[in-house]
């Protein structure tokens, strides 16, 4: 009798375990396979993929789309890279907003919405990350994949004991072999993130990119926040943008890329190509360790009483109040900073001019919300859709 009861309990436990395994497996698979729909704006003249620049990436998870907005007027080429850390959603949205809304009247703009696509196919379940987030639009809700800082271990495994950055030899944490902002300039036969960085370097060479902008978000506990980090080749542009935006639109600081800190885009892209790189950081309370409930609401509103409390205790490097840091403000900061940097690049480098048109103002994006700028995919023809 007792033995039977034990077997029943074990059977139930096994069934529950299998049930959890199946349901979580389905959830992981749905997240990994979900495709974001991108409406190609009038400015988009061509869509390539990263594999067009480095064959081994072709067909892999990281063979991301490269959207090309070509004015047809000679000038420079701007590369915008987003979501290298796929847990920084304002970068993804800012890049999609640019693809859907921007025109270019001089030079060309190239956009990678998911620079490290693999990182957008996994989240951090142990940290209670939501798998998806949705943005309200005038035609319904638009759904996006939340991601992680590192490429998915399903795509890049195993990690080394210690990650040794190539070519500097600098030693980093083991998982940073999957962190694409520690793998620049990359290597052809390295980990997936290293190969992806290498592929982007080939893109920069082959497309003769004049300036690269890498979009990020950061926790308020991190000193490098609300700022522009610039390679030595773009210091004037970055400093002037910081001063002008702070005086006229919103506060944004500036940092100079350290010469000895290796693997980062703002360091290595400029050192190993003709394109200086500028990295932008917007404030994302969702990433703070002291945050409260980790859910989609926090991701979108940036409101958190625990992060606020940390601010009251002087533990933050960026202010926060009951208004939080909404996704609309964070996206608006990125889009406007990209536009301002481009404008100033053109002023300092007239021979590689790049001029945007059609982008909304900071106030418009904050007032209308980012969803206002996404077009209903059902209203456009299939050949003007792309999938991320």
């Amino acid at each position: 009798m007792k033995a039977n009861r034990e077997w029943i309990i074990k059977g139930i436990a096994l069934a529950v375990w299998i049930g959890i395994l199946i349901s979580s497996g389905i959830a992981f698979a749905q997240h990994r396979q979900y495709k974001e729909t991108v409406v190609l704006g009038e400015g988009v003249t061509q869509v390539k993929t990263l594999g067009d620049y480095f064959e081994p990436i072709k067909g892999t998870t990281n063979d991301c789309n490269i959207y090309i907005l070509d004015s047809g007027v000679p000038g420079g080429t701007l590369l915008i890279m987003a979501a290298v850390h796929a847990e920084e959603p304002a970068t993804n949205l800012a890049a999609q907003l640019i693809v859907e809304n921007a025109g270019v009247t001089t030079g060309r703009v190239l956009v990678a919405i998911h620079e490290n696509r693999s990182a957008s196919t996994v989240t951090r379940p142990g940290d209670a990350y939501p798998q998806f987030y949705t943005v309200k639009t005038e035609w319904g809700e638009k759904k996006f994949r939340m991601g992680d800082r590192w490429a998915n271990p399903l795509d890049s495994w195993p990690d080394p004991e210690t990650y040794v950055h190539y070519p500097s030899g600098q030693m980093l944490a083991y998982m940073d072999t999957r962190n694409m902002n520690r793998t620049w300039p990359g290597r052809a036969n390295g980990s997936l993130a290293e190969q992806t960085s290498y592929a982007f370097m080939r893109l920069i060479e082959q497309e003769n990119v004049s300036l690269t902008i890498d979009l990020h978000e950061a926790e308020l506990e991190y000193p490098i926040i609300g700022t522009i980090v610039a390679h030595q080749g773009a210091l004037n542009v970055a400093a002037m943008a910081s001063m002008m935006l702070t005086a006229q639109e919103f506060p944004i600081g500036m940092e100079i890329s350290p010469l000895a800190l290796h693997g980062l885009s703002h360091r290595e892209i400029g050192d190993y190509s003709n394109s200086p790189c500028i990295l932008l950081e917007s404030p994302e309370p969702f990433l703070d360790r002291v945050r409260g409930v980790t859910d989609e609401a926090l991701l979108l509103t940036g409101k958190d009483e625990f992060v606020m409390k940390a601010g009251e205790k002087g533990l933050l490097y960026w202010p926060i109040d009951e208004n939080g840091w909404s996704i609309d403000i964070r996206v608006a900061r990125h889009v406007r900073t990209v536009e301002k940097l481009t404008e100033l690049w053109t002023r300092f480098h007239a021979d590689t001019a790049m001029v945007f048109s059609g982008l909304p103002s900071y106030e418009e994006m904050v007032d209308n919300g980012v969803g206002h700028y996404f077009t209903d995919p059902a209203t456009v023809s299939a050949n003007r859709l792309a999938f991320e």
């Binding site: 400093a239 002037m240 001063m243 002008m244 702070t246 005086a247 006229q248 506060p251 100079i256 800190l261």
Partner: protein, 206 residues
């Protein structure tokens, strides 16, 4: 007087034509403002980009400047021939506020930065230079003890303080200026320097 008015109007027009117009800013220029003449040596105590911004804006308004992030007393002395010491009517502009990235990259720390700039200011005094100490990047460069150390070490050594008004919430800069009788100018934004510099620097014509 009229000539200065034309000069200011000219500079404003130049700035506007470059599309760099700062928000309208009324400066209170102190009566005891020292005579400021280029060349200007610009350095940063704490390796933040403030010095870069100062240099950039000086270039925009046509002031001769040299930006040296790690300028030492010896290097400054070597810039000035011995026989013209005491007649060297230049300016040393030291910005305060720190960057951890910047200090790490330069292989310095806040103590060595304060020591370097203290010696530099002493050398500049020997050369008869005017010392401007500027906290020009605002509240984001007054957030930790490193920022505080550069601010409180450098500011009392100034002949002129230029300060972002948002870092004076505790009244530190006003109190210091009053106690030491230092001339002081507040700016609302870093970009205001572009309008301020032509107002406070003496040119050969004027």
């Amino acid at each position: 007087m009229m000539r200065k008015g034309f000069l200011v109007a000219g500079v404003m027009l130049l700035i506007a034509s470059l599309g760099l117009t700062a928000l309208a800013q009324e400066f209170v220029i102190p009566e005891n403002l020292p005579i400021l003449k280029a060349p200007v040596y610009v350095t940063t105590c704490g390796q933040s980009p403030g010095a870069l911004m100062v240099g950039l804006l000086m270039g925009e308004v046509g002031l001769a400047y040299e930006l040296i992030d790690l300028l030492t007393a010896d290097e400054l002395m070597s810039e000035c021939p011995v026989d013209s010491m005491k007649d060297f009517a230049g300016v040393l502009f030291v910005t305060t506020g720190t960057s951890l990235k910047g200090m790490g990259a330069a292989g310095v720390d806040v103590d060595s930065e304060v020591a370097r700039c203290t010696a530099l200011i002493a050398a500049a005094r020997e050369l008869g230079m005017i010392i401007i100490v500027g906290q020009v990047e605002g509240a984001s460069r007054r957030v930790d003890e490193y920022d505080e150390q550069t601010i409180t070490s450098m500011s009392p050594l100034a002949d002129l303080l230029i300060t972002r008004s948002d870092v004076n919430e505790d009244g530190y800069f006003t109190t210091l200026a009053e106690e030491l009788g230092l001339p002081q100018i507040f700016i609302d934004d870093t970009l205001d320097l572009e309008i301020l510099f032509p107002l406070i620097f003496v040119t050969d014509e004027g």
